[in-house]
């Protein structure tokens, strides 16, 4: 038989189930030879094969129904999940890559290592996340298709689309998550390593305004705050608008943070006992500051506490206004 025909038949049948291949190959060969005259020329054979068309489509016709790993019914949801998760994973891992490189003291710092860690972590994370989501959806699809749809399958909550300006943009939420992770890790790393960040330098003297014991004690609170911050960010991504639930979650987060700050600010041993030295070193007109310190830094504590309360109230009020505006229009 002509080699072109043989190759065409093979290209169709290799896409079919094994038990069908021999029979379909016989059918195809017989039908192609019927379409050709005796002793056909190469050109005639090419014509007939062109008429039969793409072997992939031919094979699909033979299979009868298209094959899916993830069926069109759930593909949308699959794609939305990918779009939601992949950027977060990429950015969070890139940030972790950068931070871990900067704070890894076992090897000298290099820009090359910084970028290779950043991209390496981000890319491996993207592929792992994509693979896990895909496998998850394949399984979900397989189990879901077996089930009969009933009225109880309808979603319990209706999420109406909102105008874009009332929604919380994905970029905003992701930026929030990234900043939270970055600053939490940064502060904890600096406390653990007694980094320069907390030192004031004057005339070659290094002084730290906070006491070491207080800083170390603050670490668990920073971790709690960071975890809460990331959680709120994820909820913002999930709701993508100011729902009442999101407002409650956000308010709890604000109140917890305010509570932590008020508690920490009022620790009696928060400031370094040498704080007087710092102030005298730093400023020529020391009278005013010495008066502050005379009272054990009480004025600083009061001002900070007031600032925390005001900022928290403003934060909650802004969220309340957004929530009201979003829900009023429904």
């Amino acid at each position: 038989m002509n080699q072109l025909i043989e190759r065409y038949v093979f290209d169709v049948t290799r896409r079919l189930k094994e038990n069908e291949r021999i029979e379909v190959a016989k059918e195809l060969e017989s039908m192609i030879s019927d379409m050709l005259p005796e002793n056909p020329s190469e050109g005639q054979i090419i014509d007939v094969i062109n008429q039969l068309g793409d072997p992939r489509l031919m094979a699909e016709q033979y299979r009868g129904k298209p094959q899916y790993l993830i069926s069109p019914a759930v593909f949308d949801m699959y794609f939305t999940t990918l779009k939601l998760v992949i950027p977060i994973v990429a950015i969070v891992l890139a940030v972790i890559g950068v931070i871990s490189t900067i704070f890894d003291l076992s090897i000298p710092f290099s820009v090359y290592r910084l970028f290779s860690n950043m991209f390496g972590l981000a890319f491996s994370g993207i592929f792992q996340a994509a693979a896990l989501i895909t496998i998850g959806f394949v399984i979900y699809d397989y189990l879901e298709l077996k089930k009969e749809w009933t009225i109880s399958n309808l979603p319990e909550k209706v999420i109406k689309p909102v105008e874009k300006k009332l929604g919380i943009s994905r970029a905003e939420s992701i930026a929030g998550i990234v900043m939270t992770i970055f600053f939490t890790v940064l502060f904890i790393a600096m406390i653990l390593r007694n980094e320069w960040f907390f030192f004031f330098v004057k005339d070659g003297h290094l002084l730290i305004p906070f006491s070491e014991a207080a800083l170390n004690r603050a670490i668990p609170y920073l971790i709690i705050g960071g975890i809460l911050g990331v959680t709120v960010g994820i909820f913002k991504l999930y709701y993508a608008r100011w729902t009442k639930q999101l407002f409650i979650i956000d308010t709890i987060y604000n109140v917890v943070w305010a509570g932590i700050l008020l508690y920490v600010v009022n620790w009696p041993d928060l400031f370094n006992p040498n704080i007087e030295d710092i102030v005298t070193l730093y400023l020529d007109d020391t009278d005013f500051f010495l008066r502050i310190i005379d009272t054990g830094g009480q004025l600083i504590r009061n001002i900070s506490s007031a600032a925390v309360i005001i900022i928290t109230v403003i934060g909650i009020a802004t969220a309340a206004v957004s929530t009201y505006r979003t829900n009023k229009l429904q």
Binding site: V24, K26, E27, L28, S30, M31, S33, D34, M35, Q51, L52, G53, L57, M58, Q61, Y62, G64
Partner: protein
């Protein structure tokens, strides 16, 4: 141009369902694939070879057609004929088609007036 393409794909959708009835109706006597293709073309029913052959195979697996290889001649050919079930279903499908086309015709007439 775009309208043309859209019309083409709509026509294909419309015809797709009628092809099974056409094929079944042509196979009261046994025929091999290519002769069936030619018969249908002669009667004005256009069907592509790459649609017809897979369709024949599907109808056979569904038990509506019976097939048989004839290896006597120089070219081996697979002959198809309606099975008992196929004959019965062809009759029912024909009735359905008549009803459907009458309904459609009536509907389109009313819409015109």
């Amino acid at each position: 141009m775009k309208d043309d393409e859209q019309l083409q794909s709509l026509v294909i959708d419309l015809r797709r369902g009628t092809l099974v009835l056409a094929v079944l109706s042509c196979l009261k006597e046994k025929k091999y694939g290519y002769s069936l293709l030619q018969d249908m073309e002669e009667q004005g029913i256009r069907i592509e070879a790459n649609t017809l052959y897979p369709l024949l195979r599907r109808l056979e697996t569904q038990g509506l057609l019976i097939s048989e290889w004839d290896t006597g001649e120089s070219r081996p050919r697979k002959y198809y004929i309606l099975s008992k079930r196929g004959t019965k279903l062809q009759g029912l499908l024909k009735e359905e088609w008549r009803r459907l086309s009458q309904e459609m015709e009536k509907f389109l007439e009313e819409e015109k007036s």
